[in-house]
Homo-oligomer: 292 residues x 2
């Protein structure tokens, strides 16, 4: 499907069907409420999630996402039954009536005080804007994240690397970008290092090496798409590195991307108002490494 047709289709046809499947219950009406007023996932953002890409009925990197969600759940002290989640994913994907690219969200909440955790899968079409940005690239602004680049060392309560439901700042940063006429945000640490974006990993090419921000002390999420990219790049002879970089190093890089599971890799075509020339050859290679 071309990008243009994909966009037009959202104008011309009824809203695509969504699918919701709940752990322990199976498929439910996608428009029906599923979470109680006292579920801590709702009232405290206390839970974790994953966002996965579905193409032609196949979920990409399913094992990596389930492994990361299991780690998130463990960090939150929540149980995670991988086999049950795998079955839930299959239920949702099998029931989905759409044929385009799908965005699958898996959510696990702590539940109500007197209840059990709530787990569910939500499957919808990939937003046309995401597919368009994959082709056109994105204009990015850097925003201060307020945390130091080593804040998460020996501080498990800060939930570094845990994909929690508490994304209010990530969403607010996205709205700030929109207000400034940009498409996305690069978070920068209090000590001036590039971290990650609200919903993706930063990758850049410089001097024949592919770089990304180190996880761990920085608290950033270990990206499943970034991992796939580096594994495939390593196999073809690229050098790869985890690097703490200041913004001037990014401005000097050969090319930058934001990589994430649903939108895929998108090239950064402008950083803080400075236009970047595109790198079609590199961009194509990065997309292949990410299976896009």
């Amino acid at each position: 499907m071309s990008e243009q047709r994909s966009e037009q289709s959202t104008e011309a046809v009824p809203a695509p069907a969504n699918v919701v499947a709940v752990l322990g219950r199976g498929l439910v009406d996608a428009d029906a409420p599923i979470v109680r007023a006292d579920d801590a996932g709702l009232t405290r953002g206390d839970g974790c999630f994953e966002g996965l890409h579905v193409r032609d009925g196949v979920v990409t990197k399913l094992d990596a996402h389930l492994a990361r969600m299991a780690r998130s759940a463990a960090a939150l002290g929540l149980e995670f039954d991988t086999a049950a989640w795998r079955e839930l994913v299959a239920t949702a994907v099998t029931a989905w009536p759409e044929s385009g690219e799908g965005a699958l969200k898996l959510v696990l909440t702590r539940g109500a005080a007197d209840g059990r955790p709530t787990g569910f899968a939500f499957l919808t079409v990939v937003a046309p804007a995401a597919i368009r940005q994959r082709g056109e690239g994105v204009r990015v602004i850097s925003l201060q994240r307020g945390v130091t680049s080593a804040a998460f060392t020996d501080a498990p309560w800060l939930l570094g690397g845990v994909k929690t439901l508490s994304y209010a700042i990530n969403m607010a940063a996205g709205r700030e970008a929109e207000r400034r006429g940009a498409d996305d945000v690069l978070f920068v640490s209090a000590d001036g290092y590039a971290l990650e974006t609200p919903t993706g990993s930063l990758v850049w090419a410089a001097g024949g090496t592919l770089h990304t921000t180190p996880t761990g002390a920085t608290g950033i999420l270990a990206g499943t798409t970034q991992r796939l990219l580096f594994d495939n790049a390593d196999a073809t002879g690229w050098r790869t590195a985890n690097t703490l970089a200041h913004l001037d190093e990014l401005h000097a890089a050969d090319a930058l991307w934001i990589v994430s599971s649903v939108r895929g890799p998108v090239e950064v075509i402008e950083l803080d108002g400075v236009a970047r020339s595109r790198s079609p050859h590199l961009d194509g290679e990065i997309k292949r490494f990410c299976d896009f």
Copy 2:
């Protein structure tokens, strides 16, 4: 009701009744789900809330809470109809069948992508542990929050002072305290200043002055109970001040409290393993200033 009876009652009688009222719908079954799988309040912690205290059918500091929630909603770009929320609160409180102290939570989410925000009120009894701590005090550990004390200056996307639903770190810090045998947490900035607790404001008495942490650049929440306390203290001749303090200044203070709406003011009886002698006279005065 004595603390002991309050605790016993949770053992001896059926679970107390909760009340849930939804904006635009009124009272609903408290056990029924009210939020959809794609509500951003659930999937992104994208929304805001307030926690209020109810005594003998009266909501305390209602205007202050509604005003703060209106500010939170505005910071998130969400509409907030104060009159409608006031009516929702009245609906919930009137329907509540319990006679003890109540904890009322007001929640506003961004809603689903194609829908409207979800607003609801949830009213339940105050946890016996909260009432017990009001009398016995709390043992507190300090934990690094990772942010610098001026991080929120000119950074509205960090949602400083906004009471969002994204409380996963606050909840994780509470679990860390429990693991270490403590009752509560004092967050400390990356540059070593006392900030706030996961669900309350810090107040301390030193040299005839009552202190609290400044809002604004620190990103901490403006506490409605701290405000009431300082207003009443000011009126009786106390000096009050907004002060950035290191932990050693807190150890040297005459007395420390954590103040919040539902639990009320609780005296800190141990900080980072160092026991503090209690200050019954001061503690009584602080409790009166807070209307507890």
